[in-house]
Protein backbone atom coordinates (compact mmCIF):
# COMPACT_ATOMS: atom_id res chain seq x y z
CA UNK A 1 0.00 0.00 0.00
CA UNK A 2 2.98 2.26 0.50
CA UNK A 3 3.38 2.49 -3.26
CA UNK A 4 0.70 5.18 -3.46
CA UNK A 5 2.68 7.70 -1.43
CA UNK A 6 3.00 10.84 -3.48
CA UNK A 7 6.47 11.06 -5.03
CA UNK A 8 6.87 14.79 -4.25
CA UNK A 9 6.59 14.33 -0.51
CA UNK A 10 9.71 15.23 1.42
CA UNK A 11 11.43 12.76 3.69
CA UNK A 12 9.87 14.11 6.86
CA UNK A 13 6.37 13.50 5.59
CA UNK A 14 6.88 9.78 5.20
CA UNK A 15 4.15 8.01 7.07
CA UNK A 16 5.04 6.88 10.52
CA UNK A 17 3.53 3.49 11.07
CA UNK A 18 5.00 2.87 14.48
CA UNK A 19 1.89 4.08 16.25
CA UNK A 20 3.99 6.02 18.70
CA UNK A 21 4.40 9.25 16.79
CA UNK A 22 3.62 11.29 19.87
CA UNK A 23 6.87 10.16 21.41
CA UNK A 24 8.71 11.40 18.42
CA UNK A 25 10.39 14.60 19.50
CA UNK A 26 12.57 15.39 16.51
CA UNK A 27 12.77 19.11 15.77
CA UNK A 28 11.44 20.50 12.59
CA UNK A 29 14.03 21.70 10.17
CA UNK A 30 11.99 21.80 7.00
CA UNK A 31 8.34 22.17 7.83
CA UNK A 32 6.92 25.60 8.49
CA UNK A 33 4.42 24.60 11.15
CA UNK A 34 4.90 22.13 13.96
CA UNK A 35 3.98 21.49 17.57
CA UNK A 36 6.84 20.43 19.75
CA UNK A 37 5.98 18.41 22.86
CA UNK A 38 2.93 20.50 23.69
CA UNK A 39 0.63 19.95 26.63
CA UNK A 40 -2.80 21.39 25.90
CA UNK A 41 -5.31 22.16 28.60
CA UNK A 42 -8.41 24.25 29.27
CA UNK A 43 -8.22 25.52 32.84
CA UNK A 44 -7.28 22.33 34.68
CA UNK A 45 -8.64 19.86 32.14
CA UNK A 46 -5.73 18.38 30.20
CA UNK A 47 -6.64 17.48 26.62
CA UNK A 48 -3.27 16.31 25.35
CA UNK A 49 0.13 15.77 26.86
CA UNK A 50 3.52 15.93 25.20
CA UNK A 51 2.07 15.89 21.75
CA UNK A 52 4.35 16.52 18.78
CA UNK A 53 2.97 17.15 15.34
CA UNK A 54 4.55 18.09 12.05
CA UNK A 55 2.45 19.66 9.33
CA UNK A 56 4.19 18.70 6.07
CA UNK A 57 4.67 21.69 3.78
CA UNK A 58 2.36 21.81 0.77
CA UNK A 59 0.19 19.04 2.18
CA UNK A 60 -3.54 18.88 2.69
CA UNK A 61 -3.40 17.55 6.21
CA UNK A 62 -6.59 16.33 7.82
CA UNK A 63 -6.92 15.60 11.51
CA UNK A 64 -9.50 12.95 12.41
CA UNK A 65 -10.55 11.25 15.60
CA UNK A 66 -13.57 10.58 17.79
CA UNK A 67 -15.37 13.42 19.59
CA UNK A 68 -13.34 15.05 22.36
CA UNK A 69 -10.09 13.47 21.16
CA UNK A 70 -8.47 16.89 21.06
CA UNK A 71 -8.47 17.51 17.32
CA UNK A 72 -10.00 20.97 17.48
CA UNK A 73 -7.82 21.75 20.48
CA UNK A 74 -4.73 20.81 18.50
CA UNK A 75 -5.87 23.07 15.67
CA UNK A 76 -6.42 25.92 18.13
CA UNK A 77 -2.91 25.44 19.47
CA UNK A 78 -1.44 25.39 15.96
CA UNK A 79 -3.22 28.65 15.20
CA UNK A 80 -2.12 30.24 18.54
CA UNK A 81 -5.71 30.54 19.81
CA UNK A 82 -4.66 28.30 22.72
CA UNK A 83 -1.33 28.70 24.44
CA UNK A 84 0.22 25.33 25.33
CA UNK A 85 0.87 24.95 29.06
CA UNK A 86 4.10 23.18 28.11
CA UNK A 87 6.07 22.88 24.91
CA UNK A 88 5.70 25.18 21.97
CA UNK A 89 4.21 25.63 18.56
CA UNK A 90 6.78 26.66 15.97
CA UNK A 91 6.06 28.67 12.87
CA UNK A 92 9.04 29.10 10.54
CA UNK A 93 11.30 28.04 13.40
CA UNK A 94 10.00 30.66 15.84
CA UNK A 95 7.72 30.21 18.83
CA UNK A 96 4.37 31.35 17.50
CA UNK A 97 3.36 33.29 20.63
CA UNK A 98 6.50 35.39 20.45
CA UNK A 99 5.77 36.63 16.94
CA UNK A 100 3.93 39.84 16.10
CA UNK A 101 0.21 38.94 15.72
CA UNK A 102 -0.10 40.64 12.34
CA UNK A 103 2.97 38.87 11.03
CA UNK A 104 1.51 35.51 12.03
CA UNK A 105 -1.77 36.57 10.42
CA UNK A 106 0.07 37.11 7.14
CA UNK A 107 1.50 33.59 7.26
CA UNK A 108 -1.20 31.49 8.85
CA UNK A 109 -4.95 31.85 8.33
CA UNK A 110 -7.70 30.23 10.35
CA UNK A 111 -11.32 29.51 9.61
CA UNK A 112 -12.77 28.90 13.07
CA UNK A 113 -16.01 27.09 13.82
CA UNK A 114 -17.60 30.07 15.48
CA UNK A 115 -17.65 33.24 13.50
CA UNK A 116 -20.22 36.00 13.59
CA UNK A 117 -21.21 37.94 10.49
CA UNK A 118 -21.92 41.50 11.69
CA UNK A 119 -25.49 42.70 11.09
CA UNK A 120 -26.01 44.22 7.69
CA UNK A 121 -22.55 43.50 6.26
CA UNK A 122 -22.17 42.78 2.57
CA UNK A 123 -20.16 39.89 1.16
CA UNK A 124 -17.59 42.25 -0.36
CA UNK A 125 -17.11 44.06 2.96
CA UNK A 126 -16.70 40.84 4.92
CA UNK A 127 -14.15 39.42 2.49
CA UNK A 128 -12.37 42.79 2.59
CA UNK A 129 -11.88 42.41 6.32
CA UNK A 130 -9.50 39.55 5.58
CA UNK A 131 -7.05 42.22 4.45
CA UNK A 132 -6.66 43.56 8.00
CA UNK A 133 -3.19 42.09 8.67
CA UNK A 134 -1.90 43.79 5.52
CA UNK A 135 -3.29 47.19 6.46
CA UNK A 136 -2.38 50.00 8.78
CA UNK A 137 -3.76 53.37 9.77
CA UNK A 138 -2.15 55.04 6.77
CA UNK A 139 -2.67 52.13 4.44
CA UNK A 140 -6.33 51.29 4.78
CA UNK A 141 -7.40 50.19 1.33
CA UNK A 142 -4.80 49.89 -1.43
CA UNK A 143 -5.40 48.81 -5.03
CA UNK A 144 -3.66 45.58 -4.03
CA UNK A 145 -6.32 44.99 -1.35
CA UNK A 146 -9.04 45.54 -3.91
CA UNK A 147 -7.46 43.13 -6.38
CA UNK A 148 -6.90 40.37 -3.79
CA UNK A 149 -10.48 40.65 -2.49
CA UNK A 150 -11.83 40.37 -6.02
CA UNK A 151 -9.59 37.39 -6.70
CA UNK A 152 -10.56 35.61 -3.50
CA UNK A 153 -14.24 36.06 -4.28
CA UNK A 154 -13.76 34.75 -7.81
CA UNK A 155 -11.86 31.69 -6.58
CA UNK A 156 -14.58 30.78 -4.14
CA UNK A 157 -17.36 31.56 -6.60
CA UNK A 158 -18.96 34.35 -4.59
CA UNK A 159 -17.92 37.27 -6.81
CA UNK A 160 -21.46 37.79 -8.09
CA UNK A 161 -22.73 37.93 -4.50
CA UNK A 162 -20.40 40.81 -3.58
CA UNK A 163 -23.21 43.32 -3.01
CA UNK A 164 -25.53 40.89 -1.19
CA UNK A 165 -25.94 40.86 2.58
CA UNK A 166 -24.28 37.92 4.29
CA UNK A 167 -27.37 37.16 6.45
CA UNK A 168 -29.46 36.42 3.35
CA UNK A 169 -27.14 33.72 2.01
CA UNK A 170 -27.53 29.96 2.36
CA UNK A 171 -25.24 28.02 4.67
CA UNK A 172 -23.09 26.77 1.81
CA UNK A 173 -22.69 30.22 0.30
CA UNK A 174 -21.88 31.68 3.69
CA UNK A 175 -19.13 29.13 4.29
CA UNK A 176 -17.65 30.06 0.90
CA UNK A 177 -17.70 33.72 1.90
CA UNK A 178 -15.80 32.97 5.12
CA UNK A 179 -13.29 30.91 3.15
CA UNK A 180 -12.93 33.84 0.75
CA UNK A 181 -12.19 36.09 3.73
CA UNK A 182 -9.48 33.70 4.92
CA UNK A 183 -8.08 33.58 1.36
CA UNK A 184 -7.93 37.37 1.19
CA UNK A 185 -5.48 37.11 4.07
CA UNK A 186 -3.10 35.57 1.49
CA UNK A 187 -1.49 33.11 3.85
CA UNK A 188 0.60 30.19 2.65
CA UNK A 189 -0.87 28.15 5.52
CA UNK A 190 -4.61 27.83 6.06
CA UNK A 191 -6.24 26.04 9.01
CA UNK A 192 -9.90 25.04 8.89
CA UNK A 193 -11.88 23.85 11.89
CA UNK A 194 -14.63 21.52 10.67
CA UNK A 195 -15.41 23.53 7.55
CA UNK A 196 -18.20 21.14 6.49
CA UNK A 197 -20.24 21.09 9.70
CA UNK A 198 -23.93 21.99 9.26
CA UNK A 199 -23.71 21.73 5.46
CA UNK A 200 -25.65 19.22 3.41
CA UNK A 201 -23.69 16.60 1.45
CA UNK A 202 -23.56 18.52 -1.80
CA UNK A 203 -22.14 21.62 -0.09
CA UNK A 204 -19.76 19.50 1.98
CA UNK A 205 -18.23 18.11 -1.22
CA UNK A 206 -18.31 21.58 -2.71
CA UNK A 207 -16.26 23.04 0.15
CA UNK A 208 -13.82 20.12 0.14
CA UNK A 209 -13.35 20.43 -3.64
CA UNK A 210 -12.55 24.08 -3.10
CA UNK A 211 -9.96 23.15 -0.44
CA UNK A 212 -8.40 20.57 -2.76
CA UNK A 213 -8.21 23.20 -5.49
CA UNK A 214 -6.50 25.68 -3.19
CA UNK A 215 -4.05 23.00 -2.23
CA UNK A 216 -3.30 21.67 -5.70
CA UNK A 217 -3.39 24.81 -7.80
CA UNK A 218 -1.90 27.32 -5.41
CA UNK A 219 0.33 25.07 -3.36
CA UNK A 220 -1.12 26.28 -0.08
CA UNK A 221 -0.64 24.10 2.97
CA UNK A 222 -4.05 23.21 4.35
CA UNK A 223 -4.85 21.73 7.73
CA UNK A 224 -8.44 20.74 8.39
CA UNK A 225 -10.33 19.02 11.15
CA UNK A 226 -12.99 16.78 9.62
CA UNK A 227 -15.63 14.55 11.15
CA UNK A 228 -16.20 12.30 8.17
CA UNK A 229 -13.45 9.70 7.88
CA UNK A 230 -14.34 8.94 4.25
CA UNK A 231 -14.07 12.58 3.26
CA UNK A 232 -10.76 12.75 5.07
CA UNK A 233 -9.44 9.65 3.31
CA UNK A 234 -10.54 10.97 -0.04
CA UNK A 235 -9.17 14.51 0.15
CA UNK A 236 -6.22 14.41 2.54
CA UNK A 237 -2.66 13.92 1.35
CA UNK A 238 -1.62 13.51 4.97
CA UNK A 239 -3.85 12.11 7.66
CA UNK A 240 -3.40 12.40 11.42
CA UNK A 241 -5.51 10.07 13.56
CA UNK A 242 -5.92 11.26 17.12
CA UNK A 243 -7.35 9.50 20.13
CA UNK A 244 -7.39 10.83 23.68
CA UNK A 245 -4.80 13.43 22.83
CA UNK A 246 -2.36 10.98 21.27
CA UNK A 247 -1.46 10.41 17.65
CA UNK A 248 -2.34 6.83 16.80
CA UNK A 249 -1.17 7.00 13.21
CA UNK A 250 -0.16 9.53 10.60
CA UNK A 251 0.64 9.32 6.94
CA UNK A 252 -1.00 9.08 3.54
CA UNK A 253 -4.58 7.79 3.91
CA UNK A 254 -3.94 4.79 1.65
CA UNK A 255 -1.06 3.78 3.90
CA UNK A 256 -2.65 4.09 7.28
CA UNK A 257 -6.42 3.68 6.97
CA UNK A 258 -7.06 0.04 7.81
CA UNK A 259 -9.87 -1.76 9.57
CA UNK A 260 -7.59 -2.20 12.60
CA UNK A 261 -6.83 1.50 12.79
CA UNK A 262 -10.51 2.47 12.58
CA UNK A 263 -11.33 -0.02 15.31
CA UNK A 264 -8.50 1.25 17.48
CA UNK A 265 -9.31 4.93 17.02
CA UNK A 266 -13.10 4.95 16.78
CA UNK A 267 -13.91 1.58 18.37
CA UNK A 268 -15.89 0.63 15.28
CA UNK A 269 -15.72 -2.67 13.48
CA UNK A 270 -15.62 -2.10 9.76
CA UNK A 271 -14.27 -3.06 6.40
CA UNK A 272 -11.95 -0.83 4.47
CA UNK A 273 -12.41 -1.14 0.72
CA UNK A 274 -11.17 0.87 -2.24
CA UNK A 275 -13.34 3.85 -3.06
CA UNK A 276 -14.79 2.95 -6.49
CA UNK A 277 -14.42 6.60 -7.61
CA UNK A 278 -10.96 7.54 -6.39
CA UNK A 279 -9.28 4.36 -5.19
CA UNK A 280 -8.75 5.90 -1.74
CA UNK A 281 -9.74 3.90 1.34
CA UNK A 282 -13.46 3.76 2.03
CA UNK A 283 -14.66 2.83 5.49
CA UNK A 284 -17.75 0.67 5.55
CA UNK A 285 -19.04 0.03 9.08
CA UNK A 286 -19.84 -3.62 9.80
CA UNK A 287 -23.53 -4.54 9.85
CA UNK A 288 -25.27 -4.10 13.18
CA UNK A 289 -25.69 -7.87 13.71
CA UNK A 290 -22.07 -8.61 12.93
CA UNK A 291 -21.02 -5.94 15.44
CA UNK A 292 -23.30 -7.16 18.25
CA UNK A 293 -22.23 -10.77 17.69
CA UNK A 294 -18.61 -9.75 17.91
CA UNK A 295 -19.33 -7.91 21.15
CA UNK A 296 -21.03 -10.97 22.65
CA UNK A 297 -18.14 -13.17 21.57
CA UNK A 298 -15.68 -10.76 23.12
CA UNK A 299 -17.48 -10.69 26.47
CA UNK A 300 -17.81 -14.49 26.51
CA UNK A 301 -14.12 -14.88 25.80
CA UNK A 302 -13.23 -12.67 28.73
Amino acid sequence: MRASTKPDMSASTKPDMSGSANKNTRRSTVNRLSADNVTLAYDQRVIAEQLSVEIPDNSFTVIVGPNACGKSTLLRALSRMLKPTQGQVLLDGKVIQSMAPKKVARTLGLLPQSSIAPDGITVGDLVGRGRYPHQGILRQWSTEDERVVQESMTQTGVAELAERYVDELSGGQRQRVWIAMALAQQTPLLLLDEPTTYLDIQHQIDVLDLCAELHEEQGRTLVAVLHDLNHAARYATHLIALKEGKIIAEGAPSDIVTAELVEEVFGLRCQVIDDPETGTPLVVPAARKARTEAKVAATEAS
Partner: protein, 345 residues
Protein backbone atom coordinates in the same frame (compact mmCIF):
# COMPACT_ATOMS: atom_id res chain seq x y z
CA UNK B 1 -25.25 50.00 -1.74
CA UNK B 2 -21.58 50.80 -1.94
CA UNK B 3 -20.62 53.89 -0.02
CA UNK B 4 -17.00 53.08 0.71
CA UNK B 5 -14.51 55.21 -1.15
CA UNK B 6 -10.78 54.81 -1.05
CA UNK B 7 -8.62 57.88 -1.22
CA UNK B 8 -5.10 57.11 -2.35
CA UNK B 9 -1.91 59.07 -2.78
CA UNK B 10 1.11 58.29 -4.95
CA UNK B 11 3.23 57.46 -1.91
CA UNK B 12 1.15 54.35 -1.25
CA UNK B 13 -1.02 55.92 1.45
CA UNK B 14 -4.65 55.01 1.30
CA UNK B 15 -7.55 56.00 3.48
CA UNK B 16 -10.93 54.38 3.40
CA UNK B 17 -13.88 56.67 3.74
CA UNK B 18 -17.47 55.64 4.24
CA UNK B 19 -19.19 58.51 2.43
CA UNK B 20 -22.52 57.96 4.12
CA UNK B 21 -21.02 57.78 7.61
CA UNK B 22 -18.93 60.90 6.95
CA UNK B 23 -22.05 62.76 5.79
CA UNK B 24 -23.94 61.66 8.89
CA UNK B 25 -21.12 62.86 11.13
CA UNK B 26 -20.96 66.24 9.36
CA UNK B 27 -24.73 66.77 9.51
CA UNK B 28 -24.99 65.72 13.17
CA UNK B 29 -22.08 67.98 14.08
CA UNK B 30 -23.76 70.89 12.33
CA UNK B 31 -27.03 70.07 14.10
CA UNK B 32 -25.32 69.87 17.49
CA UNK B 33 -23.58 73.22 17.00
CA UNK B 34 -26.73 74.92 15.71
CA UNK B 35 -28.70 73.58 18.67
CA UNK B 36 -25.93 74.85 20.95
CA UNK B 37 -26.30 78.37 19.58
CA UNK B 38 -30.07 78.22 20.06
CA UNK B 39 -29.58 76.78 23.56
CA UNK B 40 -27.23 79.64 24.52
CA UNK B 41 -29.93 82.08 23.41
CA UNK B 42 -32.61 80.31 25.50
CA UNK B 43 -33.38 81.32 29.07
CA UNK B 44 -34.77 84.10 31.24
CA UNK B 45 -32.99 86.62 29.02
CA UNK B 46 -33.53 85.35 25.47
CA UNK B 47 -30.78 86.34 23.03
CA UNK B 48 -31.30 86.03 19.25
CA UNK B 49 -29.03 83.53 17.51
CA UNK B 50 -27.29 86.29 15.54
CA UNK B 51 -26.31 88.09 18.75
CA UNK B 52 -25.13 84.83 20.28
CA UNK B 53 -22.79 84.25 17.34
CA UNK B 54 -21.57 87.86 17.49
CA UNK B 55 -20.89 87.54 21.22
CA UNK B 56 -19.08 84.24 20.76
CA UNK B 57 -16.83 85.99 18.21
CA UNK B 58 -16.11 88.60 20.86
CA UNK B 59 -18.24 91.43 19.46
CA UNK B 60 -21.17 91.45 21.88
CA UNK B 61 -22.09 94.03 24.52
CA UNK B 62 -20.97 93.58 28.11
CA UNK B 63 -24.29 92.21 29.41
CA UNK B 64 -24.60 89.64 26.67
CA UNK B 65 -20.96 88.72 27.05
CA UNK B 66 -21.44 87.91 30.73
CA UNK B 67 -24.56 85.85 30.14
CA UNK B 68 -23.12 83.99 27.15
CA UNK B 69 -19.53 83.41 28.17
CA UNK B 70 -19.86 83.00 31.92
CA UNK B 71 -23.31 81.49 32.41
CA UNK B 72 -24.53 79.68 29.36
CA UNK B 73 -21.48 78.69 27.28
CA UNK B 74 -19.95 76.49 29.99
CA UNK B 75 -23.29 74.75 30.46
CA UNK B 76 -23.54 74.07 26.72
CA UNK B 77 -19.92 72.88 26.61
CA UNK B 78 -20.61 70.47 29.47
CA UNK B 79 -23.72 69.25 27.61
CA UNK B 80 -21.75 68.69 24.39
CA UNK B 81 -18.84 66.96 26.12
CA UNK B 82 -21.00 64.82 28.41
CA UNK B 83 -23.14 63.77 25.43
CA UNK B 84 -20.07 62.99 23.34
CA UNK B 85 -18.44 60.99 26.14
CA UNK B 86 -21.63 59.02 26.83
CA UNK B 87 -22.30 58.38 23.13
CA UNK B 88 -18.77 57.10 22.60
CA UNK B 89 -18.68 54.97 25.75
CA UNK B 90 -22.08 53.53 24.84
CA UNK B 91 -20.79 52.55 21.40
CA UNK B 92 -17.72 50.96 22.99
CA UNK B 93 -19.69 48.99 25.59
CA UNK B 94 -22.23 47.81 23.04
CA UNK B 95 -19.54 46.73 20.60
CA UNK B 96 -17.52 44.92 23.27
CA UNK B 97 -20.53 43.15 24.77
CA UNK B 98 -22.01 42.59 21.28
CA UNK B 99 -25.34 43.53 22.79
CA UNK B 100 -27.40 46.73 22.40
CA UNK B 101 -28.27 46.43 26.09
CA UNK B 102 -24.62 46.43 27.11
CA UNK B 103 -24.59 50.15 27.80
CA UNK B 104 -23.23 51.83 30.93
CA UNK B 105 -26.77 52.59 32.23
CA UNK B 106 -27.68 48.93 32.29
CA UNK B 107 -24.26 47.82 33.54
CA UNK B 108 -24.63 49.96 36.65
CA UNK B 109 -21.82 52.44 36.08
CA UNK B 110 -24.28 55.31 36.60
CA UNK B 111 -25.44 53.72 39.86
CA UNK B 112 -21.82 53.24 40.89
CA UNK B 113 -21.07 56.92 40.34
CA UNK B 114 -24.26 57.78 42.23
CA UNK B 115 -23.10 55.66 45.16
CA UNK B 116 -19.84 57.62 45.25
CA UNK B 117 -21.68 60.94 45.11
CA UNK B 118 -24.24 59.88 47.74
CA UNK B 119 -21.48 58.75 50.07
CA UNK B 120 -19.97 62.24 49.83
CA UNK B 121 -23.33 64.00 50.25
CA UNK B 122 -24.76 61.90 53.07
CA UNK B 123 -21.79 60.64 55.06
CA UNK B 124 -19.35 63.53 54.62
CA UNK B 125 -21.59 66.50 53.68
CA UNK B 126 -19.04 67.13 50.96
CA UNK B 127 -18.58 70.18 48.75
CA UNK B 128 -19.53 70.00 45.10
CA UNK B 129 -15.90 69.29 44.14
CA UNK B 130 -15.81 66.42 46.63
CA UNK B 131 -19.08 65.08 45.24
CA UNK B 132 -17.56 65.11 41.77
CA UNK B 133 -14.51 63.20 42.96
CA UNK B 134 -16.76 60.77 44.84
CA UNK B 135 -18.80 60.11 41.68
CA UNK B 136 -15.65 59.58 39.66
CA UNK B 137 -14.21 57.12 42.16
CA UNK B 138 -17.56 55.33 42.47
CA UNK B 139 -17.86 54.92 38.69
CA UNK B 140 -14.31 53.67 38.29
CA UNK B 141 -14.62 51.23 41.21
CA UNK B 142 -17.84 49.82 39.76
CA UNK B 143 -16.21 49.44 36.35
CA UNK B 144 -13.30 47.60 37.93
CA UNK B 145 -15.63 45.35 39.94
CA UNK B 146 -17.63 44.42 36.83
CA UNK B 147 -14.47 43.70 34.88
CA UNK B 148 -13.00 41.49 37.60
CA UNK B 149 -16.25 39.60 38.21
CA UNK B 150 -16.85 39.06 34.50
CA UNK B 151 -13.26 38.02 33.83
CA UNK B 152 -12.78 34.42 32.91
CA UNK B 153 -9.90 34.10 30.46
CA UNK B 154 -11.19 37.19 28.76
CA UNK B 155 -14.40 39.16 29.03
CA UNK B 156 -17.35 38.06 26.94
CA UNK B 157 -20.58 39.76 25.96
CA UNK B 158 -23.33 38.07 27.89
CA UNK B 159 -21.31 37.61 31.04
CA UNK B 160 -20.43 41.30 31.02
CA UNK B 161 -24.11 42.31 30.72
CA UNK B 162 -25.35 39.84 33.35
CA UNK B 163 -22.60 40.67 35.84
CA UNK B 164 -23.29 44.37 35.21
CA UNK B 165 -26.99 43.95 35.94
CA UNK B 166 -26.13 42.09 39.15
CA UNK B 167 -23.65 44.76 40.28
CA UNK B 168 -26.19 47.43 39.39
CA UNK B 169 -28.82 45.80 41.64
CA UNK B 170 -26.42 45.61 44.57
CA UNK B 171 -25.29 49.22 44.19
CA UNK B 172 -28.89 50.46 43.80
CA UNK B 173 -29.76 48.79 47.10
CA UNK B 174 -26.78 50.52 48.71
CA UNK B 175 -27.92 53.86 47.30
CA UNK B 176 -31.40 53.33 48.75
CA UNK B 177 -29.86 52.66 52.15
CA UNK B 178 -27.75 55.83 51.97
CA UNK B 179 -30.83 57.88 51.09
CA UNK B 180 -32.75 56.59 54.11
CA UNK B 181 -29.86 57.73 56.33
CA UNK B 182 -29.88 61.26 54.93
CA UNK B 183 -31.49 64.41 56.26
CA UNK B 184 -34.14 66.19 54.20
CA UNK B 185 -31.75 68.77 52.69
CA UNK B 186 -29.18 66.13 51.87
CA UNK B 187 -31.88 63.98 50.32
CA UNK B 188 -33.07 66.87 48.12
CA UNK B 189 -29.51 67.58 47.00
CA UNK B 190 -28.95 63.87 46.36
CA UNK B 191 -32.12 63.42 44.32
CA UNK B 192 -31.33 66.43 42.13
CA UNK B 193 -27.86 65.02 41.56
CA UNK B 194 -29.25 61.57 40.82
CA UNK B 195 -31.61 62.85 38.13
CA UNK B 196 -28.79 64.33 36.13
CA UNK B 197 -28.77 68.06 35.66
CA UNK B 198 -26.80 70.67 33.77
CA UNK B 199 -27.90 73.74 35.69
CA UNK B 200 -25.21 75.81 37.33
CA UNK B 201 -22.38 74.10 35.46
CA UNK B 202 -19.36 76.38 34.94
CA UNK B 203 -15.90 76.22 33.43
CA UNK B 204 -14.61 74.14 36.36
CA UNK B 205 -16.64 71.22 35.02
CA UNK B 206 -15.61 71.82 31.41
CA UNK B 207 -11.83 71.53 31.66
CA UNK B 208 -11.44 68.02 33.14
CA UNK B 209 -13.97 66.69 30.63
CA UNK B 210 -12.23 68.41 27.75
CA UNK B 211 -8.78 67.11 28.69
CA UNK B 212 -10.05 63.59 29.15
CA UNK B 213 -11.82 63.63 25.80
CA UNK B 214 -8.74 65.10 24.12
CA UNK B 215 -6.68 62.14 25.33
CA UNK B 216 -9.19 59.32 25.10
CA UNK B 217 -11.05 60.05 21.86
CA UNK B 218 -7.96 59.75 19.59
CA UNK B 219 -6.83 56.68 21.53
CA UNK B 220 -10.21 55.02 21.10
CA UNK B 221 -10.50 55.93 17.41
CA UNK B 222 -7.00 54.54 16.75
CA UNK B 223 -8.17 51.19 18.12
CA UNK B 224 -11.46 51.33 16.24
CA UNK B 225 -10.23 49.14 13.38
CA UNK B 226 -9.37 46.34 15.80
CA UNK B 227 -12.77 46.70 17.45
CA UNK B 228 -14.43 46.46 14.05
CA UNK B 229 -12.70 43.11 13.48
CA UNK B 230 -13.78 41.91 16.93
CA UNK B 231 -17.41 42.07 15.80
CA UNK B 232 -16.76 38.80 13.98
CA UNK B 233 -15.90 36.94 17.16
CA UNK B 234 -12.69 36.51 19.12
CA UNK B 235 -11.36 33.64 17.02
CA UNK B 236 -11.68 35.42 13.69
CA UNK B 237 -10.19 38.65 15.00
CA UNK B 238 -7.34 36.79 16.67
CA UNK B 239 -6.70 34.98 13.41
CA UNK B 240 -6.57 38.34 11.63
CA UNK B 241 -3.84 39.52 13.97
CA UNK B 242 -5.82 41.69 16.40
CA UNK B 243 -4.54 41.61 19.98
CA UNK B 244 -8.09 40.99 21.13
CA UNK B 245 -7.71 40.99 24.90
CA UNK B 246 -5.44 44.03 24.90
CA UNK B 247 -7.71 46.07 22.64
CA UNK B 248 -10.74 45.08 24.71
CA UNK B 249 -9.07 45.94 28.01
CA UNK B 250 -7.88 49.30 26.72
CA UNK B 251 -11.26 50.23 25.27
CA UNK B 252 -13.15 49.11 28.38
CA UNK B 253 -10.93 51.26 30.57
CA UNK B 254 -11.47 54.19 28.21
CA UNK B 255 -15.24 53.63 28.21
CA UNK B 256 -15.39 53.45 32.02
CA UNK B 257 -13.30 56.63 32.34
CA UNK B 258 -15.53 58.47 29.86
CA UNK B 259 -18.73 57.39 31.63
CA UNK B 260 -17.43 58.12 35.11
CA UNK B 261 -16.18 61.59 34.18
CA UNK B 262 -19.37 62.45 32.33
CA UNK B 263 -21.45 61.26 35.27
CA UNK B 264 -19.31 63.17 37.73
CA UNK B 265 -19.90 66.35 35.71
CA UNK B 266 -23.64 66.08 35.09
CA UNK B 267 -25.02 63.24 37.19
CA UNK B 268 -26.23 59.94 35.80
CA UNK B 269 -27.81 61.13 32.55
CA UNK B 270 -29.87 58.15 31.53
CA UNK B 271 -30.22 56.51 28.16
CA UNK B 272 -27.91 58.72 26.06
CA UNK B 273 -25.24 55.99 26.04
CA UNK B 274 -27.90 53.42 25.18
CA UNK B 275 -29.64 55.27 22.37
CA UNK B 276 -26.89 57.29 20.65
CA UNK B 277 -25.04 54.28 19.11
CA UNK B 278 -28.30 52.68 17.97
CA UNK B 279 -29.58 55.87 16.37
CA UNK B 280 -26.20 56.52 14.75
CA UNK B 281 -26.14 53.01 13.38
CA UNK B 282 -29.57 53.41 11.82
CA UNK B 283 -28.42 56.60 10.12
CA UNK B 284 -25.10 55.32 8.80
CA UNK B 285 -26.54 51.89 7.95
CA UNK B 286 -23.05 50.52 8.23
CA UNK B 287 -21.86 47.60 10.34
CA UNK B 288 -19.06 48.27 12.74
CA UNK B 289 -18.97 50.13 16.02
CA UNK B 290 -19.77 53.53 14.41
CA UNK B 291 -17.63 55.28 17.02
CA UNK B 292 -17.47 58.78 15.61
CA UNK B 293 -21.15 58.93 14.55
CA UNK B 294 -22.18 57.75 18.05
CA UNK B 295 -20.01 60.42 19.66
CA UNK B 296 -21.56 63.23 17.61
CA UNK B 297 -25.02 61.76 18.05
CA UNK B 298 -24.56 61.74 21.84
CA UNK B 299 -23.53 65.39 21.82
CA UNK B 300 -26.48 66.37 19.62
CA UNK B 301 -28.96 64.39 21.75
CA UNK B 302 -27.71 65.99 24.93
CA UNK B 303 -27.95 69.57 23.66
CA UNK B 304 -31.39 69.01 22.16
CA UNK B 305 -32.61 67.33 25.37
CA UNK B 306 -31.37 70.27 27.43
CA UNK B 307 -33.05 72.70 25.05
CA UNK B 308 -36.35 70.80 25.33
CA UNK B 309 -36.16 70.73 29.13
CA UNK B 310 -35.58 74.50 29.23
CA UNK B 311 -38.00 75.43 26.46
CA UNK B 312 -40.92 73.36 27.65
CA UNK B 313 -40.52 73.64 31.40
CA UNK B 314 -38.49 76.82 31.84
CA UNK B 315 -34.88 77.14 32.89
CA UNK B 316 -33.81 74.90 35.77
CA UNK B 317 -37.35 73.61 36.34
CA UNK B 318 -36.67 70.19 34.93
CA UNK B 319 -33.30 68.46 35.03
CA UNK B 320 -32.14 67.28 31.61
CA UNK B 321 -31.89 63.71 32.89
CA UNK B 322 -35.69 63.54 32.98
CA UNK B 323 -35.94 64.42 29.29
CA UNK B 324 -33.27 61.94 28.20
CA UNK B 325 -34.92 59.34 30.43
CA UNK B 326 -38.33 59.84 28.83
CA UNK B 327 -36.96 59.97 25.27
CA UNK B 328 -34.62 57.05 25.86
CA UNK B 329 -37.25 54.95 27.59
CA UNK B 330 -39.65 55.35 24.68
CA UNK B 331 -36.84 54.53 22.31
CA UNK B 332 -35.90 51.41 24.27
CA UNK B 333 -39.50 50.15 24.13
CA UNK B 334 -39.58 50.77 20.40
CA UNK B 335 -36.29 48.90 20.04
CA UNK B 336 -37.63 45.91 21.98
CA UNK B 337 -40.82 45.81 19.92
CA UNK B 338 -39.04 45.99 16.55
CA UNK B 339 -36.41 43.47 17.62
CA UNK B 340 -39.17 41.11 18.67
CA UNK B 341 -40.89 41.55 15.33
CA UNK B 342 -37.59 40.78 13.62
CA UNK B 343 -37.49 37.61 15.72
CA UNK B 344 -34.22 38.44 17.44
CA UNK B 345 -35.54 38.34 21.01
Amino acid sequence: MKTNRAIRTLGGLSVRLDVRAATVVALLLAAALAASVVLIGTGDFPIPAGDVLKTLMGNGNAGQEFIVNELRLPRVCVALLVGAALGLSGALFQAISRNPLGSPDVLGLGQGATAGALTMIVLFSGSSAQITVGALVGGLATGLAIYLLAWKQGVHGYRLVLVGIGVSAVVTAGNGYLLTRSTLTEATQAVVWMTGSLSGRDWAQVWPLLWLCAVLVPLVLANGRGLRMMEMGDDVSNALGVRVERVRMLLLVAAVLLTATATAAAGPISFVALTAPQLARRLTRSPGPNLLPSLVMGAALMVVADWISQKVFGADQLPVGVVTGVLGGVYLLWLLVTERKAGRI
